[in-house]
């Protein structure tokens, strides 16, 4: 099992903007470098990218929840 972690502390978003669909849902596959969410800090939105490929088995943080640096955002199978 692989994990996708937040590189920075801030607020986690699963959607590119409030009226768009989430980047990824549980069961979706991700490729290396694919965006799975955003973390907002200091008036900037930083893209969180997968560094391994796989299928998302769970999101560990809800949309718009605070995260710390290194926090696991999602788990991957494969």
């Amino acid at each position: 099992m692989a994990e996708i972690r937040s590189p920075i502390p801030g607020t986690f978003y699963r959607r590119p903007s409030p009226d768009e669909a989430p980047y990824k849902e549980v069961g979706d596959t991700v490729a290396v470098g694919e965006v799975v969410g955003l973390v907002e800090v200091m008036k900037s939105f930083i893209e969180v990218k997968a560094d391994t490929a796989g299928t998302i088995t769970a999101f560990k943080v809800e949309n718009e929840e605070p995260v710390t640096a290194g926090a696991v955002l999602a788990e991957l199978d494969g």
Binding site: I8, M42, P66
Partner: protein, 323 residues
């Protein structure tokens, strides 16, 4: 001699102790948000306390060294790694020519200060190498460090590795963080109840906090005393006839979200400021992560001056420890 920036991290800027003396012209003081950490990092690697260092917010850079150097990382705990091997924070370590320094995830605090023996030797602007981003002053041609930048280094007489700042001389905010505030000139504009609430409530650091200002949310909105707005002031009760802002002053636009003005802040404006965070606590603000619960504590001028003297003593202790 120089260091190559392989990856700048998120917000990495060159900072020293700042650019005082031009605030009246609207040029902010800039410099490291946690200047105690700037000084400590420099002393660890044998530099003058005011040499230029890298300030990295929330995430460290990746740096490739062209020549041998001594490095120290202080302030927020973003543990450094030399060719992938972790080194201690607040401790001097050697890096050999060709080696790469990268960083692990942030563990505590918010901003790491990376000092390199010799100091970063980019050109000074108005006596300082500090980066003021929106004014495009200092730093690397007025900007943050970027991929591929070669950062020039000054001469160093060499510094041993292994020197460390004892735990009791490392300074980071607790949780909840406590920031001491001296009520100021415009305190009279808010009601007594609003004044009590401000100090009773628990606030949280907003994610948009940056080098200009650190915003807080979560406390009750302030209520203002009835008054007819004077000529020249805006119509909102939090507006004043334009006044001066000090480093540390706390403005509350619309009475809702306090903003503490920090090193890159504007020097004046039309929002009232309820007071100022005391100088002894300003470094701590640079180490607040988003969402950190924070309490404001009311102090008198005497208490503020005592705290300032305590801080000065702490620094003297650090200096004799690393002498």
């Amino acid at each position: 001699m120089s260091v190559k920036v392989v990856n700048p991290g998120l917000f990495t800027t060159i900072q020293d102790l700042g650019r005082p003396g031009y605030f009246h012209l609207g040029i902010p003081i800039s410099g490291g948000m946690d200047r105690y950490a700037v000084r400590a990092a420099n002393l660890l690697v044998g530099n003058d306390e005011g040499a230029a260092v890298l300030e990295s917010a929330f995430m460290g850079p990746t740096l490739e060294f062209e020549s041998d150097a001594t490095v120290a990382v202080t302030g927020g705990e973003i543990p450094p790694k030399v060719d992938g091997e972790e080194r201690d924070c607040w401790t001097a370590f050697k890096v050999k020519a060709g080696q790469v320094v990268s960083f692990d995830y942030l563990r505590r605090g918010a901003r790491a200060y990376i000092a390199i023996s010799g100091g970063i030797a980019t050109p000074k602007y108005l006596d300082s190498r500090s980066t003021y981003l929106i004014g495009a002053l200092g730093g690397v041609e007025g900007r943050a460090v970027g991929v591929g930048d070669m950062l020039p280094l000054g001469e160093s007489a060499g510094a041993p590795e292994g020197r460390t700042v004892p735990e009791k001389l490392r300074r980071l905010p607790g949780s909840p963080a406590e920031l001491r505030v001296l009520p100021g000139l415009y305190w009279r504009l808010i009601t007594e109840e609003a004044g009590r609430n401000f100090f009773e409530d628990e606030w949280k650091v907003a994610p948009e906090a940056d080098r200009m200002g650190v915003r807080f949310r979560g406390g009750r909105p302030l209520s203002f005393k009835e008054r007819e707005q004077p000529f020249g002031a805006g119509s909102d009760p939090s507006n004043i006839v334009d006044g001066c802002y000090s480093y540390g002053s706390v403005q509350v636009p619309g009475g809702t979200e306090p903003i503490i003005l920090h090193r890159d802040a504007v020097s004046g404006g039309g929002y009232f400021t309820l007071g100022a965070v005391i100088s002894a606590d300003m470094d701590l603000i640079g180490q607040l992560q988003p969402h950190t619960p924070t309490r404001f504590v009311s102090v008198t001028m005497d208490e503020a001056l005592t705290a300032r003297a305590d801080r000065a003593r702490l620094y003297q202790e650090l200096k004799s420890e690393l002498a």
